[in-house]
């Protein structure tokens, strides 16, 4: 008895929670935020790679020539990410990320 | 050396290493292993890991020696065991044990410190059934 009652109550509650996003279809604006977040993450990673390569170079783990080519590639990739970021940001209100 | 040949060479080296490791594993494990045996299967003249249950009421202390009988997990055949060394905490009547040694004149003479008792009760299912 207790089991059946709990089963019904829990099923109703969970069902309500899960159907909420299905009824509210305001997902579109999220797409840009998602892209923004993804690009920012990619940017962070790129920056870290640039710094890491720099440190490797300072510590003698990358030869001068290697480092220059690696650094050039990384930086051009970073610039590409920043360009995309700017494009997306054009559609998002200031500070939209931080909510 | 051209790149494809180099790759092939690396592959061969890696495979050789893998085969060597595998051979070492198989060879050493089969030569170093000891056979597990029930009391009813023991034969004299070679060493075994004896597995079975401690016959209730058979545990005796004699000086530094511990004497007890081990019987088949699912049978009645049993063998006397003499053992020296550390006795694991869970050792007692009816417990499943593993002990290494050799059969000498009808008695299983165990190697020092080789007694292992299965810890039966972290999940107590088996205690209830036994």
């Amino acid at each position: 008895m207790e089991y059946a009652l709990a089963l019904v109550v829990l099923a109703v509650v969970v069902g309500a929670v899960l159907s909420l996003p299905l009824r509210r279809r305001g997902e579109e604006e999220l797409r840009e935020e998602t892209m923004l977040a993804e690009l920012s993450a990619a940017k962070e990673a790129k920056y870290r790679e640039i710094r890491d390569a720099e440190l490797d170079h300072q510590m003698g783990k990358l030869s001068d020539a290697d480092w220059r080519s690696v650094d050039r590639d990384l930086r051009s990739e970073a610039i590409e990410i920043l360009r995309q970021l700017d494009r997306v940001e054009g559609h998002v209100p200031e500070g939209g990320m931080d909510r | 050396m051209d790149p494809s040949r180099k790759r092939k060479l690396r592959l061969v080296v890696a495979l050789t290493a893998a085969v060597l490791l595998a051979t070492a594993l198989i060879y050493t494990s089969f030569s170093a292993s000891t056979e597990a045996s029930k009391p009813s299967q023991l034969k004299p003249g070679r060493s075994y890991d004896l597995t079975g249950k401690v016959v209730p009421g058979s545990i005796r202390h004699a000086g530094d020696d511990l004497r007890f009988r081990v019987r088949d997990r699912d049978g009645t055949a049993s063998v006397p065991v003499t053992y020296t060394g550390v006795v694991p905490d869970p050792f007692r009547d009816g417990r499943e044990v593993i002990v290494s040694g050799e059969l000498e004149h009808g008695t299983f003479v165990a190697e020092r410190d080789s007694l292992v008792t299965k810890c039966p009760s972290k999940f107590t299912k088996d205690e209830q059934t036994s």
Binding site: L18, A45, K61 | S29, F30
Partner: protein
């Protein structure tokens, strides 16, 4: 409330299945609202699991013996701390712990990635939902922790005394957190494969989870070793027991994974290898859980007849088949973006370290499953013992520690032997110096493997120290900061790198302890009467007197009877007292005799250890209660139907008799050098892992000022 708990689990099972279905449908049909709903379903599973866990925990706390699980694993006289932890000492309870931890981890990672990884996250949600559903299905179908008893007993069976040890109670949740944690990178790897996004995104998103899982698993393994050392009464910390091995295997492969993902992030290589490694790690984690449950291998921890072994095997089989199939189907996308330029490169050595780690895992796996293998081949069960493991693992461990030292100094892509020598000559000379000193002043040469290990440890420690010094120096010349400030800034801004180096140093220290204590310990087994003296490793140990305590031993395990010994230890004019003892727990079996049953239950050694940085002195006592046998049997006859308080008096009298006229007791004394450094090394590894996993300053800054940092970044890249 048991009904509510069962209902929670049933609904959680349905919700987990819904999560999988909804997120896959959402991703396929491009309907984001279904993906959101699926993600929320995982949050719901977590909530339901927590409610169920809370209900069960409450039942344990109020000792409600109408719950079968509580009656089996707890009792009113179990100390509160052990009542709380008795939940996961039972099979059903540990399944619930697994499911709860899994749903919590899954919710956390899905919440953190809710706005990123659009393509991968839905499939990862589905994988996590399926894994959760499997564990919930086990509980709903076969092992319901909320099973009730029609006639509740008045008293529970109590928690196994062997498990009444703080380390043992934290050890299982640590291991489980590790096992469960690896399901996160696994789920995202599978998600990346399904979505065809095989770049380093999934690694970036879940690397931290893999590291945290690795840390917990490692801590769990260390705690298990500590428990073995201080509670099991044999004095060792590692016995190559199947259950120990089962936890070590995923840790080793996980270690390989943490290293090789760096190659994918840096060079876009080893993609197939990385997804294979994480699939293997997760499979081994499941296998670890399964081995503990199934009892197919005999072990001191074997848990006897289990009802869920087959289900586990089927699930493991499915995981292996599906991941292998998926990897093969995606082979074209998993092509390397770069080639291995030279065998003399950091990449190549990463690969080598991976091979050694995986090789170690294979060796251990072979040994662990050898009884099954030999039964399949020769028809008889045979097993390999610790000597076999030691013989094969030792050389691999030596190579591993060597690589631990070489790895950090290597250059990416390629380096020349001359350049390598320039950075390696100081650590090599340190190792050589260590060799000379050890040969001249110690007997380390008695064990060549240990001697080699000592030299390698010196090598690694010098490498790590030099790396720090060189980094600091480089930063100082750039910024002109003071030494300590440079050092702090350097490590603070490159946490992952220097955290990793710290972990390397910790591993070296750990192996220092292992090498010293395994080869140079001194052990004595003696029988002593009060007043007798023996010597071990320069310690003069005298058995002063016997002790007998009723109710409440010093360790707080709630043991009713505790017989022990007081020993005086002298060395070089120093003097201290040690008090090992042995606890006796009464048996619930009334047929044993009214008084006998107090002595016939479980018994555990309460070891006394004199901890020291140079060496531990470890003492265990085994009182001979055989001399009490006759009076006990007499008491059984005389007081067969006596009430409880009379029984207590009798037991007290027997204990007093033992204390006043103790028979010779058996002692085991072990003096093992540098054992302490195993635990210290382990702690350093954990510290290093925490440093590496801590969010980097720029990531935290991003949350506050993301837009400005983008602008800042533009400046950086223009310069």
């Amino acid at each position: 409330m048991a009904g509510v708990g069962s209902a929670c689990l049933a609904i959680a099972l349905l919700t987990a299945l819904y999560a999988a279905a909804a997120s896959v449908f959402g991703a396929r049909a491009g309907r984001r609202e279904w993906v959101t709903s699926g993600r929320r379903a995982i949050y719901c599973v977590a909530t339901l699991c927590i409610v169920a866990f809370g209900l069960l925990e409450a039942a344990f706390l109020r000792s409600d013996f109408s719950y079968a699980l509580v009656a089996e694993g707890s009792s009113t006289d179990t100390p509160t701390f052990y009542k709380v932890t008795a939940l996961w000492a039972t099979q059903d309870g540990s399944l619930l712990l697994w499911a709860t931890l899994l749903s919590l981890f899954a919710s956390t990672v899905l919440f953190l990635t809710r706005r990123s990884l659009r393509d991968i996250a839905p499939y990862a949600t589905a994988v996590l939902g399926c894994v959760a559903a499997f564990f919930l299905l086990l509980m709903v179908g076969w092992e319901n922790p909320f099973d009730t008893l029609a006639t509740p007993p008045l008293e529970g069976a109590g928690l196994n005394p062997l498990l009444r040890h703080p380390a043992m109670m934290i050890h299982p949740p640590m291991l489980y957190t590790g096992y469960v944690g690896f399901s996160i990178p696994f789920a995202f790897a599978i998600g990346a494969l399904v979505a065809g996004r095989t770049g380093a995104d999934w690694i970036r998103a879940t690397r931290r989870f893999a590291l945290i899982a690795w840390t917990f698993l490692g801590t769990g393994i260390m705690l298990g070793a500590l428990w073995s050392y201080t509670e099991l009464g044999w004095g060792g910390y590692w016995a190559w027991d199947p259950v120990e091995n089962a936890s070590l295997m995923p840790w080793l492969v996980g270690t390989a994974f943490l290293h090789s993902i760096m190659v994918q992030e840096k060079r876009g290589m080893l993609k197939i290898w990385n997804v294979s490694l994480i699939c293997a790690t997760f499979t081994l984690a499941l296998l670890g859980t399964f081995l503990v449950r199934s009892g197919i291998l005999s072990s001191i921890h074997a848990f006897g007849a289990s009802t869920i072994g087959v289900q586990f095997l089927i699930f493991i089989g499915l995981v292996i088949a599906l991941s292998a199939g998926l990897i093969i189907a995606r082979l074209p996308q998993l092509r390397s973006e770069a080639k291995l330029d030279s065998l003399l490169s950091r990449e190549a050595f990463f690969l080598l370290n991976n091979l050694v780690l995986v090789g170690l895992c294979l060796v251990i796996m072979w040994g662990t499953f050898f009884p099954l293998i030999s039964e399949a081949i020769t028809g008889t069960q045979a097993s390999v013992g610790p000597p076999w493991f030691n013989r094969l693992v030792t050389p691999l461990a030596l190579v591993l520690v060597l690589l631990t030292g070489i790895g950090p100094v290597l250059a990416w892509r390629r380096f020349t032997p001359a350049a390598l020598w320039r950075v390696l000559w100081p650590p090599v000379s340190a190792a050589a110096l260590a060799l000379v000193l050890l040969l001249a002043f110690t007997n380390a040469a008695d064990s060549p493997a240990s001697l080699a290990m000592f030299c390698l440890v010196a090598f690694v420690l010098v490498v790590v120290g030099m790396e720090l010094a060189r980094g600091t120096k480089a930063r100082r010349t750039m910024t002109g900061e003071s030494w300590p400030r440079s050092l702090a800034r350097l490590t603070g801004r490159n946490r992952r790198r220097y955290g990793g180096y710290l972990a390397h140093a910790g591993i070296a220290v750990l192996f220092l302890g292992v090498a010293a204590s395994s080869a140079f310990l001194e052990q004595r087994d003696v029988r002593l009467k009060p007043g007798d003296t023996f010597e071990v490793d320069g310690y003069r140990v005298t058995y002063r007197e016997a002790t007998a305590k009723l109710g409440g031993d010093s360790a707080g395990t709630g043991a009713p009877i505790s017989f022990g010994a007081v020993l005086d230890v002298r060395k070089h004019g120093k003097h201290f007292v040690m008090r090992p003892s042995r606890n006796y727990y009464s048996s619930g079996d009334a047929s044993l005799g009214t008084i006998s049953r107090f002595f016939e239950g479980e018994a555990t050694s309460e070891v006394d250890v004199r901890w020291g940085l140079k060496r531990d002195l470890w003492l265990a006592v085994r009182p001979d209660i055989g001399s009490l046998e006759k009076p006990i049997q007499e008491a059984d006859r005389k007081f067969a139907d006596s009430p409880g308080d009379v029984q207590a008096l009798i037991v007290a009298a027997l204990a007093e008799r033992y204390r006043r006229d103790p028979p010779p007791a058996a002692f085991r004394a072990i003096a093992s050098p540098l054992v302490m450094w195993i635990w210290i090394g382990g702690a350093i590894v954990v510290l290093g892992a925490l440093v590496a996993a801590w969010p980097s300053p720029e990531a935290r800054l991003r949350r506050v000022r993301s837009l400005y940092s983008a602008r800042l970044g533009r400046e950086l890249s223009r310069a």
